[in-house]
Symmetry: C2
Subunit: 244 residues, 2 copies
DNA sequence: ATACTGTACTGATTTAAAGCAGTGTCCCGA
DNA sequence: TCGGGACACTGCTTTAAATCAGTACAGTAT
């Protein structure tokens, strides 16, 4: 079985721990309950409780919070290989909503499946918790970005981060990646207005750094972009000490 | 033993689960290794690894990230009863720094102590993970605030949240609370300049909502503030479904 | 007594981003 | 083939917050 035949999650985890045959088998087991969801229709709604978790195998999802005044803040994106709603299964009611950005394929993971898998293979549990911890680090980084970076740097950082995440599951590279997001998604993510997003994108394009167009992101000057965003390419793919 | 004699952490957890004598004993065990730290001197530094966790018993700590350009973003505060560095003990190197705001008292918790305690009393483990999950929800809320609220609402929300957290451990109320933070701390937290923080505080004071002065926060019009901040007092103290 | 440092505070000016009011262009469905 | 509707894009105006350049006032060290 080559790496390309594995699920994106397997591929991602394998980048950090060498998983045994047994562990791989348990991981494949978790992908039993296949589900599809259509774009734009919330999978989980703010305040809902007792939700299952999902492993996303194809498509993109965003998790967001809605405010009383109607504005929304996108907190995070899930791309293939990411867990979705892991926290709400382990601990409490969901405190945000999940919306598929395109039609998606996911595997439903029940609480019991997950706990069984964890009990059988502690190393797998560690790897999954490691991935969850990485996701949290991204939320924190996102917070720092919104609080302390200007619009250009925020956009650059976001596109670079997305590129790194996608590269990890084999659907992106330093050249660019396919991206189904609209400029409105970017606005809700970065805390900008859609109009300003458009201007920022134009500016990045005109300075020859990156192009966001027709559902595709193209990096023209990767190093220049790293520089503008003060993006540390290491922060996403460092191996946790417990996995060594 | 009355509630007042317990540690702030015990007090906080007791607000959500009724803990048995045995569980309380295990919890007190965790407070063995007492440590003190002086204000202003980092306890844990960005990038450091294999850190112990701490339970804060007196004083305030902030966790922050430093940027290359010297600006910093405070991600979260820890007040008495809060865990500090829980993630870094369970999973990986610390991705941010911890600075005591005043001289503090804390109990050091080694990884092994924590795992033993978890193994002995699963309900306690759940309660602690519940608290951790609540902290994460606050980081997300913080993200939403910075992205989508204006300076006044951000400040109001922050002060209300802090008030709720402190009320939970008995050192704050709807009247107000003692607060050792400077206006620079507020600036670094809310993603504003110190100058603007000052103006926002003046504005809130002049509209008769809240006063921040001489190390004390006084709520003059709690409901008015709730309204301005669109603060939902429920979001911090809802009991997780697993604890029912 | 004097200077120094940290914190709080202020007015004037500039700048980044929002808001407003549109246009252009696909694509899809009647 | 003729609308709609989504999305991308633009110029102009306004506003929120940053920045600059200070003052005021404690507490403490010299």
């Amino acid at each position: 079985m080559t790496s390309a035949e594995h699920s994106p999650l397997t591929r991602k985890l394998s980048a950090f721990v060498a998983l045994s045959e047994g562990e791989l088998a348990v991981l494949e087991q978790l992908h039993q309950r296949r589900r599809s969801f259509v774009a734009g229709c919330d999978m989980v709604h703010q305040g809902q409780s007792d939700q299952a978790a999902f492993i996303l195998s194809a498509g993109w999802v965003c998790s967001y919070k809605l405010q009383a005044d109607g504005t929304r803040q996108i907190v995070d994106f899930q791309v293939p290989g990411d867990f979705l709603g892991l926290r709400s299964v382990l601990l409490r009611t969901s405190d945000h909503s999940f919306e598929p950005i395109v039609d998606i394929e996911a595997a439903e993971v029940l609480k019991s499946d997950l706990l069984d898998a964890f009990a059988q293979t502690p190393r797998l549990a560690t790897a999954i918790l490691w991935a969850a911890s990485r996701d949290e680090a991204m939320v924190v980084e996102h917070l720092v970005g919104i609080g302390r970076r200007d619009a250009d740097a925020r956009m650059a950082h976001f596109l670079l981060e997305l590129g790194s995440r996608l590269a990890l599951v084999g659907i992106g590279s330093k050249e660019g990646f396919d991206c189904p997001l609209t400029q409105y998604h970017l606005a809700d993510t970065l805390g900008l207005s859609a109009v300003h997003v458009n201007r920022v994108l134009r500016q990045l394009r005109e300075s020859g750094l990156v192009t966001f167009r027709d559902g595709h992101v193209t990096f023209h000057d990767y190093d220049g972009l790293l520089d503008l965003a003060e993006f540390d390419p290491a922060y996403l793919d460092q191996t946790g000490p417990l996995l060594k």
